[in-house]
């Protein structure tokens, strides 16, 4: 694992923390050193700071994008919605806002290693989905109705719709949907999945006619429209 950050103290702290968890850690203060380390060592994951003098983390992430075997986690002190989207679009596998909680970093590192081991691809879906004239962009957390108007859903509804769009035509059980809709960080998801689904249905119907989510008695729900991944 390679930690690229111009903040010497933080780099050392991250190194010590992850080393104590049993990882082999390399360090680099800038892009040049990063390339040197990558050329001579086998690296699974690069932890990349965004704000660095000289070549910044975003452009380094872009230069690493074609090395599919390499996982990239970006750390940024900016941490605004927009920077997150840009970071992930440039090919980073994950994005964490500073100040990063050590346990959170460890969890993301392990999750990325697991996904790489299973060849599951990246943490963040980089796709856009199209169904019945609607457009869903999970990364930007944007949904557009057939008229092109942006429709903002609640977090739970958005994750539900995303889960549906990923597996159209399949019956999804309430337990599975609950798991998918809960998200990683939220533990305050106390609404019954049925309430969420009926709310989502009503909001979708208020913008365009046509049934999209059908209830399958005793089994769960199925997403009816054909989904095109763009």
């Amino acid at each position: 694992m390679l930690v690229v950050d111009d903040d010497t103290d933080l780099r050392a702290l991250v190194r010590d923390y992850l080393a104590a968890e049993g990882f082999d850690i390399l360090e680099a203060p800038d892009g040049q050193a990063m390339r040197r380390e990558l050329a001579t060592n086998a690296v699974d994951i690069v932890i990349l700071d965004v704000m660095m003098p000289g070549e910044d983390g975003l452009s380094l992430a872009r230069s690493l994008a074609d090395r599919a075997e390499l996982g990239v986690i970006m750390l940024s002190a900016l941490g605004s919605e927009n920077d997150r989207v840009v970071g992930l679009e440039l090919g980073a596998d994950d994005y964490l806002a500073k100040p990063v909680a050590p346990r959170e970093l460890l969890a993301r590192v392990r999750a990325l290693l697991r996904r790489k081991a299973l060849h599951l691809g990246t943490a963040s879906p980089k796709l856009a989905y199209e169904f019945a004239g609607w457009q869903l962009e999970p990364l930007r957390r944007t949904l557009r109705d057939p008229g092109g108007v942006v429709i903002a859903l609640s977090d739970g509804e958005f994750r539900l719709l995303h889960a549906f769009a990923e597996q159209p035509g399949k019956v999804l059980s309430r337990d599975l949907l609950l798991e998918l809709a809960r998200g990683s960080e939220s533990d305050a998801f106390d609404r019954a999945i049925d309430t969420q689904v009926s709310r989502l249905r009503r909001k979708l119907l208020s913008r365009a006619p046509g049934e999209m989510i059908r209830t399958v008695r005793n089994e769960g729900y199925v997403f009816l429209p054909e989904v095109r991944r763009a």
Binding site: D7, D9, L10, L13, V14, D16, Y17, A77, L78, G79, S80, E81, N82, K98, P99, V100, A101, P102, T142, D145, G148, V149, V150, I151, A152, L153, S154, D155, G156, E157, A188, F189, D190, R191, R199, K203, S206, R207
Partner: protein, 340 residues
């Protein structure tokens, strides 16, 4: 006073007259008068003025009327040349704000107006540069705090659990303050993409998020409202307003409607409301009501400032008003999209 050749002989006489009338005797004598001059041969020469003939008065009247007419004509012409640009000038000055995006006042019209417009434009540039510098300084401070906070988080990893929990709470609080401050700076300096969006569903989604987290938030009335806006800024706007209602009033009731072609969102709470003086001041950055200066409610006092910046970015506004019984109402006015 200078004496002519002939006057030399009369010097003592003149000296007497001077003593009587002074050197600057008023030369303007009104009404008819007579001058008597004794000649060298001892005879007197009389000069008598006559009253102005009455015809002359009419003439002067006519003349002054003519002049007046001429003046009116000139001022109408001049006024026309000035009033247009002056109106434009006033309207532009009205729009002046501290942001750099405001269009400069057009430099047109008569010389004086052009000079005034240029002066005002320069002032506007200076003010927005000042505000930009101040805002980016706040942003830089907040941003730079994240580096030591990051290190602090790693430092306490190996601390005893009790200490670690305490420090982590403090860090979390500082993190929140830094985040809010950066939101504020961003709302003031960055304008993201504006697109057509459904306002009522956006507000409803935020209310649902709060309700899902177990908060007492309910949408009591809703109407379809398509506006042109930036979803991120609007989310912050309504999140902050609902959050305030919950913090100070315990609950939030949300209404969206269309009134006089305006998209309106109302958020009511049942809290103590605000002192009349605080209703307007509440929007000032870092303002916190006297009663809210406790750690239990927290916050830096930027929530409403961020909300207002977001509303202004949408050419809208927010008004706070105390409800007759109890509680505070926040009314947000936004203009609907033309092709909604």
């Amino acid at each position: 006073m200078r004496l002519g050749e002939g006057d030399r002989n009369r010097a003592p006489e003149i000296a007497r007259e001077l003593a009587l009338y002074g050197a600057a005797a008023d030369p303007a004598i009104h009404g008819p008068f007579t001058i008597a001059v004794r000649q060298r041969d001892g005879r007197w020469l009389y000069l008598t003025t006559h009253r102005f003939p009455s015809v002359g008065v009419i003439g002067i009247g006519a003349l002054s009327a003519l002049v007046n007419l001429l003046l009116i004509g000139v001022s109408l012409w001049f006024g026309g040349r000035v009033a247009g640009p002056l109106r434009q000038f006033a309207a532009s000055a009205e729009r002046l704000r501290a942001d750099a995006e405001v269009e400069p006042i057009p430099v047109t019209g008569p010389t004086e107006l052009r000079a005034a417009a240029e002066a005002l434009n320069h002032m506007q540039q200076r003010i927005s540069r000042y505000v930009r510098e101040r805002t980016s300084m706040i942003g830089a401070i907040a941003h730079d705090l994240r580096a030591p906070l990051s290190r602090l988080k790693f430092h306490v990893v190996s601390a005893p659990p009790k200490l670690r929990a305490a420090v982590e709470r403090e860090i979390a609080e500082m993190e929140q303050l830094v985040g809010v401050t950066l939101d504020f700076v961003e709302a003031d300096t960055r304008s993201g993409a504006f697109e057509r969006l459904e306002l009522s569903l956006l507000v409803e989604g935020i209310a649902d998020d709060f309700a899902d987290a177990g908060k007492d938030v309910e949408v009591v009335e809703t109407a379809p409202l398509t506006i042109c806006g930036n979803a991120l800024l609007l989310r912050r706007l309504f999140t902050n307003l609902i959050d305030n209602a919950l913090k100070y009033g315990g609950s939030a009731r949300v209404r969206t409607c269309r009134e006089n072609g305006c998209a309106i969102v109302e958020i009511d709470d049942v809290g103590p409301g605000l002192a009349p003086d605080d209703l307007a001041r509440a929007f000032e950055p870092f303002f916190r009501g006297e009663k809210s200066r406790s750690r239990s409610t927290g916050g830096v006092g930027l929530g409403l400032a961020i909300a207002r910046s977001a509303a202004v970015a949408h050419a809208g506004s927010i008004v706070l008003e105390n409800l007759p019984e109890r509680g505070l109402r926040a009314r947000v006015f936004l203009s609907p999209s033309e092709n909604a």
